[in-house]
């Protein structure tokens, strides 16, 4: 088997896929759910329900506000208890709808039959994009970009490669791995739907070499789905980065400041492809997702199908509670995830995992002098010079930050991972990047 990869930078954290063999289990519906109206990139959705309203599973409770925005649906049936600000994984508060759960009554239009619907012949590209929009689908790999925007290709651009991101390069996370093994057919049909929506005949499913069973299974399946090809990839972080996945599979590098469609690529996460199948073929909006709950000291780590809005506490209880030595709780993976403050934070559309780190791994080491070893430069997958950007940012030299392409930084954390002196490189680079982006935006005005 040939394994492709990207050529610049990258690091090799231990992959720790503790839950790769654990089948997805539906998590019990909680007593209340809190659904934030901003679970996606772009404008927060506008809440259309009021306190006291009765809602059903799959009912629209917030409308997309503008082109780059997404609908939000109730994940439970019950009564709206409260509408107010609630903290999410970022630490900031957002408006959210809290629903007191009563039963599990679904909207009548949703097709709950278990059989796989394969016929997509009568669907037109616009139909597919509209259904994706109505269903509130956003990128489920964690970026939560509104999928309908990604599928709405401007007339002057053409897609010649649909890429399904099944890489899951973050250590510990296995949600996409299980989805590939347990919902392989749905994934294939979802991919076909994407191909039709962007009028493209070729699709590639990128899978890293630590998921050989998924590579084998999907390769077998793909013989029934013309145009879809499985591409095995070398194990290297951040292979799951959109730009690096495109580079590894097609050999084309998205230029600085441009989008994947500019090199003819449309990339969607594997979970998103399945959600697209469910939305288009089963009329099911996005209101639940697979979340990996894991950690070295966790008693029974696993992968769970969770209703959006479930407090993370319920997931932690399900795996045996917080271990004695808990030091840090992360929403997402260890490289780019966010450390959360409490367990009350709700699961959102982009919550791919809950990772519990022990005390021994939770603290940063003592910061030492930069020894100019250059490991951060070798590790940076964007070909930047993290030590330099960090130094400029600490001196607030925004002009040199812009000259040295700080806006190209994808915040993957490879630089910090490779630094022997425990320097907070990314903290400074993030500050520099945001400051420069603010300056650029104000220039355009």
């Amino acid at each position: 088997m040939e394994f492709k990869t990207f050529s610049i930078g990258g690091v090799h954290p231990a992959d720790k896929k503790l839950t790769a063999g654990v089948a997805i289990k539906p998590l019990a519906i909680p007593a209340t759910v809190t659904i934030p109206c901003a679970q996606h990139i772009g404008a927060p959705a506008e809440i259309i329900v009021q306190k006291g309203d009765k809602v059903k599973v799959g009912q629209l409770i917030a409308k997309a506000n503008g082109f780059v925005s997404a609908n939000i649906h109730s994940s439970v049936s019950g009564t709206v208890k409260m509408i107010g600000p609630v903290a999410d994984a970022s630490g900031y508060t957002k408006q959210a709808v809290t629903i007191q759960v009563e039963g599990d009554e679904w909207d009548e239009s949703i097709d709950r039959t278990p059989d796989i619907k394969r016929n997509i012949d009568d669907l037109k590209a616009e139909d597919i994009v509209n259904k994706v929009h109505e269903a509130g689908i956003v990128g489920m790999g964690g970026a939560t970009f509104p999928t309908k925007v990604k599928l709405s290709i401007p007339l002057e651009k053409k897609a010649d490669a649909v890429i399904i991101n099944a890489v899951e390069c973050e250590p510990y996370l296995t949600a996409d791995h299980r989805v590939m093994l347990e919902k392989g057919e749905e994934l294939m049909i979802g991919t076909q739907l994407i191909m039709k929506a962007v009028r493209c005949e070729n699709a590639y499913i990128g899978i890293e070499q630590n998921k050989l069973d998924a590579i084998k299974y999907l390769t077998e399946l793909s013989s029934k789905y013309p145009g879809i090809k499985v591409v095995p990839l070398k194990l290297k972080y951040p292979q799951g980065s959109e730009k690096h996945l495109i580079a590894a599979i097609t050999g084309r590098e998205v230029p600085s400041g441009r989008l994947p469609i500019d090199v003819g690529a449309v990339v969607d996460n594997a979970g998103t492809a399945v959600a697209i199948y469910e939305a288009v073929m089963k009329n099911k909006p996005l209101f639940e997702r697979v979340v990996t709950v894991t950690g070295d000291s966790v008693k029974n780590p696993g992968n769970f199908l969770v209703r959006i809005g479930t407090p993370i506490k319920n997931l932690v209880d399900e795996v045996g509670g917080l271990p004695e030595d808990t030091g840090k709780i992360i929403s997402g993976g260890p490289m780019m995830g966010k450390a959360i403050t409490t367990l009350d934070i709700p699961v959102a559309k982009g919550t791919s995992g809950v990772l519990i780190l022990p005390q021994t791994l939770a603290h940063r080491g003592e910061v030492e002098n930069c020894i100019r070893c250059g490991k951060c430069v070798d590790a940076c997958p964007m070909g930047l010079e993290p030590y330099l950007l960090s130094a400029y940012a600490s001196r607030k030299n925004f002009e040199e930050l812009e000259n040295n392409h700080v806006t190209d930084c994808i915040e993957c954390g490879c630089c910090v991972f490779s630094c022997p002196s425990n320097r907070p490189i990314l903290d400074f680079v993030r500050f520099g990047k945001q400051s420069v982006m603010k300056i650029i935006r104000s220039r355009k005005k």
């Binding site: 050999g251 590098e253 808990t326 260890p334 403050t341 791994l361 002098n369 020894i371 030590y387 630094c419």
Partner: protein, 320 residues
Amino acid sequence: MSNLLTISPSPHAKGKDTVKSLMGGVLIALAPAFLVSLYFFGIGALITTLVSVISCVLFEWLITKFILKQTPHICDLSAVLTGVLLAFNLPSNISPFIVMFGALIAIGVGKMSFGGLGQNPFNPALVGRVFLLISFPVQMTGAWPKPIEARWQYLDAVTGATPMSYSELGKVNLMDMFLGGVGGSLGEVAALALILGGVYLIVKRIITWHIPVSILLTVLIITSIAYLTDPTKFASPLYHLLGGGLLLGAIFMATDYVTSPMSSTGKLIYGFGIGLLTVIIRLWGSYPEGMSFAILIMNALTPIINKYVKPTRFGVVKTK
């Protein structure tokens, strides 16, 4: 639950490298060369190395604590490494007081005066060595202990010429230079031991291949051209590669993180410059050696290389 939760920005995972582990790795890579130097030069090698290491560590600790008034960090092993490298550039019969003086200059002037670890523009061990070379030329170049014979002797060791001195140029057996057994400074005599250390460093990803390979290739090519032009006037390329501290310099001195470029292309240019300058000084200059000066000159050019030679960026060149 009794623990407090830690909140910090991503990433929440760390690689295994620390400053101490990297410095320690270089010390391990130097172990074969040290064992060889003990075998050939005996007590002199042991005492000189110990005096150099202890002096370097002591001076760094004293200067950091009492002059800079900061917390000393000698546990990161960087001073130990400077001590070993300084010793490896000295003959085994040199007075311990000269060694201590060299350590004071290497650490005090070469490192601490610029602000400590990571701030110095010049390789501290080389700063120490060149200072000693210029201040104590006779003790540094005149009398090289004879390998094996001088093992149990120290300051009064029996001496002979080194391969790089004019009278010996080209006359020494290449196998002796490869395995050790020729005159020279502590660390430069056994090419095989040094190469083993170099392979260890590259396999463990402590250094990359760029600097040693570009230095050695440059020296090989230029000395080959010279030798082919006039074999009577110029020594053979292998002789140049195996002698005069070239391997010690290419593998252990030029690759010092702090004073070498950050990008791979920058490292290649830096290595080429060192190779070129070394050969020029050797073939047409007054020092049969020349490598120390070549490295120090390229150290001075490292900031300019870093400024103008940038790593390949993602998305700039269209591939395939």
